[in-house]
Amino acid sequence: MIRFEDVNKVYKGDLVALKDVSVEIAKGEFVFLVGPSGSGKSTFLKLLLRDEVATAGRVLVAGRDIGRLGAWKVPSLRRNIGCVFQDFKLLTNKTVYENVAFALEVIGRPKHIVRTQVPQILDLVGLGKKTENFPTELSGGEQQRVSIARAFVNRPLILLADEPTGNLDPATTVGIMRLLDRINRTGTTVVMATHDQRIVDAMRRRVLELDHGSLVRDQARGVYGVGS
């Protein structure tokens, strides 16, 4: 599903973000991306979203080299990749329902699809009763659920999560991880960048560790730090 071949990314000013990273992630896998700040986790995700383009090497998604994708084809790539962030990126002037519906409307999905899909996905994330609330009226965990609903409402093949629990307390975090796990079980590939040692250790999934842009560990049922 995802394949990095000797990927290098150098930002302006010779800042090396990724160095010779080669890795393959199969369909339906759940992968943690760990490492200290500045180790290249976010760059890894940005390359997958085609928010950035690799300086050298190839990034393949579903067999296609996305670095060579024309600008007009990028939207269709992103429709197959859902995205969740630490700061949720919800629109505060729209209700929960409208936030999720927006993701379908702007890619031109017809109204009847929007009307059936949105309540369904909001039920799935456990917000079926808060569809008319505004994001500011929700807790952090609930806001992240809305953001996950928005990322998943179009049933993408891949879900990327960049520190999705970074702003949440441990109890709420557990709920979010259950939700991501559930989404993963539907066959969606999940790649999650995180600092949270506890959840990595508890979940026991594949762990990729980056350090100064190099892939230093790839462990099938790993924990956050070696030897911990």
Partner: protein, 294 residues
């Protein structure tokens, strides 16, 4: 359908959010296009009045409507031979005169209907070797057989031509400068609009909205500003046309041939609406370029 209503809604919201900037954009488009259209209108009035007096033509010799063939032929050969006075001339027979008549009065079909080629006199438009010889030509040819009368380009008309040339140029430059500033205002409005909606745009790009989907509401916003400004300008031009017509009609002596026709005004109106729409769309395109690239 749902897309159209989406675009309409987003465009309206954005126009309202930047109401002051929107109004400023519309007003500058309006003023610059009224100026521009006004110059064109003035130009067309002057052109109508001075159409004959171009390319050095200083006088027009009208033959009697019943002038004989031989009178006309004699006049031709005399003009051909008169190298000392005549630089060039153009002969208009009945049909040519009628064709020009139809062109000048094409918005008065009743007048054309009631006129036939044979009532319009044949004429010669003469360009003397130098303008100072005009008087001499008039004296020499006035008495020739078959000549009805000789009309010379009035000094006033020439003064008017010279004066309006400068006025036209100045107003043209001013209206260009204003058009440019209205373009910049629209660019700025669109930049503000994209900035105000940067989070929405970010989400749209993230979930895979196509580039044109993101752009259309902003393009429409610029287009609406340009089009509203131009539409209002069209109205002003029409009022201006009525005013000019009234002034010209009340000064029959000098300006009798200076006219603005409805079709002139409509043509100019359409032109400025197109210019307004182009300015609006161009402004949006420039305003969007930096924010949405990549």
């Amino acid at each position: 359908m749902s897309r159209l209503s989406y675009f309409a809604r987003e465009t309206l919201i954005s126009l309202r959010r930047n109401l002051l900037m929107t109004i400023a954009g519309i007003i500058t488009v309006l003023i610059s296009l009224v100026l521009f259209g006004g110059i064109l209108l003035l130009s067309s009035a002057v052109d109508h009045g001075t159409e004959k007096w171009k390319h050095g033509v200083e006088l027009e010799i009208f033959m009697k409507t019943n002038a004989s063939r031989s009178d006309v032929d004699a006049m031709k050969s005399q003009l051909d031979a008169d190298k000392a006075l005549v630089k060039s001339y153009r002969y208009l027979d009945h049909n040519a005169a009628y064709a020009e008549f139809k062109r000048l009065f094409h918005d008065q079909p009743a007048l054309i209907e009631s006129t036939t080629p044979d009532v319009l006199p044949e004429s010669f438009r003469v360009a003397p070797v130098t303008a100072r010889l005009t008087q001499q030509v008039e004296i020499d040819y006035n008495k020739r057989p078959g000549v009805d009368k000789i009309v010379t380009a009035q000094q006033q008309i020439k003064n008017l031509l010279n004066a309006t040339r400068w006025i036209r140029l100045i107003f043209f430059v001013i209206s260009l400068a204003l058009l440019l500033s209205s373009l910049f205002l629209i660019v700025n409005t669109i930049r503000l609009a994209t900035f105000a909606r940067r989070r929405e745009i970010e989400v749209m790009r993230l979930v895979g909205a196509s580039n044109w989907f993101v752009r259309v509401p902003f393009m429409a916003e610029g287009l609406v500003q340009g089009a509203i400004g131009a539409g209002l300008a069209f109205g002003f031009i029409w009022v201006l046309k009525v005013v000019i017509s009234n002034v010209l009609n009340s000064q029959q002596t000098l300006f009798s041939t200076f006219r603005v026709t409805d079709s002139d005004a409509i043509g100019i109106g359409i032109l400025i609406v197109i210019i307004g729409a182009v300015i609006g769309t161009l402004g949006s395109a420039i305003g969007l370029r930096r924010f949405l690239e990549g």
